[in-house]
């Protein structure tokens, strides 16, 4: 009989859960910025929520619910290793090597839902070897709803420290990989983002939809991506000249 009561008490979950907005809190996201240089260098800056990291690495060793800087700082090397193991940059199946000693001292960032660890390092890809593939597996086994919001930036030609924004993509869940595509040189700053799977929930897909297809139907056959890039840059030239996001919805 007790079992029955317990079972019925369980049943209460359903009714209550449905009443309550399930996502009363912000879900788990990380913010990853990749800055690419003509030399092939990639600067990685990754903000990952301390709350999420604690769920995996148990940073709060005394379990008091309050994470101190000492608890975080003391585990930084482990934390960095864990993150680096869940982000892979490669070109033609060859990994872009970590640049030894390029990681930056521990620091934090405040986002809207709390503090994030800021992990920064460099990787060395080949200067003109084509696409960079990114594989993102952070928390893939423990929270499939986690997403990495990835921002691409590319060095502006003839500068050393100025970047052009190239796009944002959302990785994680059923979309763990992505290619950053280099178009034919020497076109200036001709990077574009190539989608190989739908962007979750955005209603956008990499496969051409009728509208996009019709807009690209008049395109010269090659290079398709450059055409998309140009048309979108035009569309936004008055309001947001630096933002070129056509590649998300293009069939490139």
């Amino acid at each position: 009989m007790k079992m029955k009561i317990q079972h019925l008490a369980w049943a209460l979950l359903g009714l209550w859960a449905i009443c309550m907005p399930a996502l009363a809190h912000k879900p788990s996201d990380s913010y990853l910025t990749l800055g690419t240089f003509d030399s092939g260098r990639v600067d990685v800056e990754w903000h990952v929520s301390l709350r999420d990291i604690d769920g995996e690495l148990r940073l709060d060793v005394d379990d008091d619910g309050r994470l101190t800087w000492g608890e975080v700082r003391g585990r930084w090397a482990e934390l960095l290793g864990y993150m680096q193991a869940h982000l892979s940059l490669s070109q033609r199946d060859r990994p872009c090597a970590l640049v030894p000693g390029s990681d930056q001292p521990p620091t934090l960032a405040s986002h809207t839902d709390g503090r994030y660890a800021v992990l920064r390092w460099q990787q060395a890809c080949m200067p003109t070897s084509g696409d960079i593939r990114i594989d993102y597996t952070l928390f893939a086994l423990t929270d499939p709803t986690h997403r990495g919001i990835v921002r691409w930036r590319a060095q502006l030609p003839a500068t050393t420290d100025r970047f052009e924004e190239k796009g944002i993509t959302v990785l994680g869940g059923d979309r763990p990989a992505h290619r950053l595509q280099f178009a034919t040189r020497p076109a200036p700053a001709s990077l574009s983002v190539a989608s190989d799977a739908p962007i979750p929930g955005s209603g956008l897909a990499s496969s051409p939809d009728p509208d996009t297809a019709s807009s690209t139907a008049e395109t010269p056959p090659t290079p398709a991506c450059e055409h998309c890039f140009t048309s979108c840059a035009k569309a936004w030239s008055t309001s947001a000249p630096a933002l070129t996001m056509c590649s998300f919805s293009s069939p490139c």
Partner: protein, 389 residues
């Protein structure tokens, strides 16, 4: 919309996503603490409980045996219980991860399918959830939880006749208390508020203690529908004073207090609970009502959270976002679009009332008719709607 304008609107959406994501990153201030003792994040307002410690051990075991149904169920149900308690979607993610072995299967075992349905409905994927629930009750008609969740999802989707049939399924599954509450709630919505209130009152005095919180919540919501806010307020306050209240009840009580213009009471109750988006929204509205300068920070925080949700493609917050856009950003046309899109998915009283409020503010009363004709078609009554044009 003209088909040619679609690519442009897509670009607009993408531009918003890019701009907001970039600003989210750019806005994040870097900070390197000086002292090791500095608290850099409050994970919980209490130490880790024995239950949570045991759950972590179970989760580790489940990872080693990913196809063990009993173990996965135990870990996932507990995560769902905490998702309800905390309102934190990370728990849903943990529950989903535990079901990874079965997640994409067409017809997983019934116990797993029920869990999957519960997670899907929490993410507002109601159609997929309904498919799973209907399969579970067909294969395992004695599964009370499945009938109960099925009834709840059907009610939220605005299908009361089918929801009532699911309540009857609860009787066959031997869950008589739940069946009664389930039925009375629907009767109350269908214009028999007084009768339902009396029946629920009797139930509350007879039912086992663990049922009472929920019965009181149903009574409070019925009282509101029946145009008796004072009765509802008393019930909410009682629940919150005992251990029967949670963030949902707190939000419902705050709404009622806001309707009555009691902004200071809302501020007193909700200050310190800003991590919860739904409560932060109420707090921001209270600041707004009271002319409190803290409004600005609260609005900025909410804006950042809605933008973050957008950048990852979430649409679960549409009700809250519509309300935020209407009452705090004061953009009725944009709010109406959000409220309408939300109304397509959810048809609870709050969704209808919000759509009406946005439609009137935007000067587009035809949306009000949509709500009224829907209510009429399913036979639902709400005095609050009658009070509006």
């Amino acid at each position: 919309m003209h088909p040619k304008s679609r690519p442009l609107s897509r670009l607009l959406i993408l531009w918003v996503i890019m701009a907001t994501s970039m600003s989210a990153q750019a806005a994040a201030k870097l900070h390197t603490p000086v002292r090791d003792q500095e608290v850099v994040e409050v994970l919980r307002e209490r130490p880790l409980s024995r239950e949570e410690r045991e759950w972590r051990t179970l989760r580790a075991q489940a990872r080693l045996a990913p196809s063990n149904i009993a173990l996965a169920s135990k870990v996932a149900w507990q995560a769902l219980r905490w998702a309800r308690r905390d309102g934190d979607p990370r728990w849903l993610g943990q529950a989903q991860a535990t079901l990874g072995h079965w997640w994409t299967q067409t017809a997983p075992p019934a116990d797993i399918r029920l869990l999957r349905a519960t997670i899907l409905q929490s993410n507002h994927d109601f159609d997929a959830s309904l498919r799973d629930l209907q399969a579970v009750v067909r294969d395992k008609p004695g599964e009370a939880q499945a009938w109960l969740t099925l009834a709840a999802v059907l009610r939220v989707r605005g299908r009361p006749a089918e929801a009532l049939a699911a309540c009857e399924g609860l009787v066959r599954a031997g869950a008589n208390w739940h069946a009664e509450v389930c039925t009375q709630e629907l009767r109350g919505q269908a214009g028999e508020a007084a009768h339902a209130m009396r029946a629920l009152d009797t139930l509350a005095s007879q039912a086992p203690r663990e049922f009472r919180g929920h019965i009181q919540l149903v009574r409070a919501e019925l009282a509101e529908r029946d145009g008796k806010p004072d009765v509802a307020a008393k019930l909410y306050a009682l629940m919150l004073a005992s251990d029967e209240g949670d963030a949902y009840v707190e939000g419902a009580y705050a709404d009622l207090l806001l309707d009555q213009g009691q902004a200071d009471a809302v501020i007193a109750r909700l200050k310190g609970r800003e991590r919860n988006d739904a409560l932060l929204l109420r707090l921001a509205e209270a600041y707004d009502l009271a002319g409190n300068p803290a409004r600005r920070t609260a609005v900025q925080a909410l804006q950042a959270r809605f933008m973050a949700a957008k950048s990852r493609g979430d649409r679960v917050h549409q009700r809250e976002e519509a309300r935020f856009t209407l009452r705090l950003l004061r953009q009725p046309v944009a709010a109406l679009a959000l409220a309408r899109s939300n109304w397509l998915i959810q048809k609870e009283a709050a969704d209808g009332l919000l759509l009406v409020e946005a439609a009137l503010a935007a000067g587009q009363p035809q949306a009000v008719d949509e709500v009224h004709s829907f209510m009429q078609s399913v036979g639902w009554h709400d005095q609050r709607l009658k009070a509006r044009p």
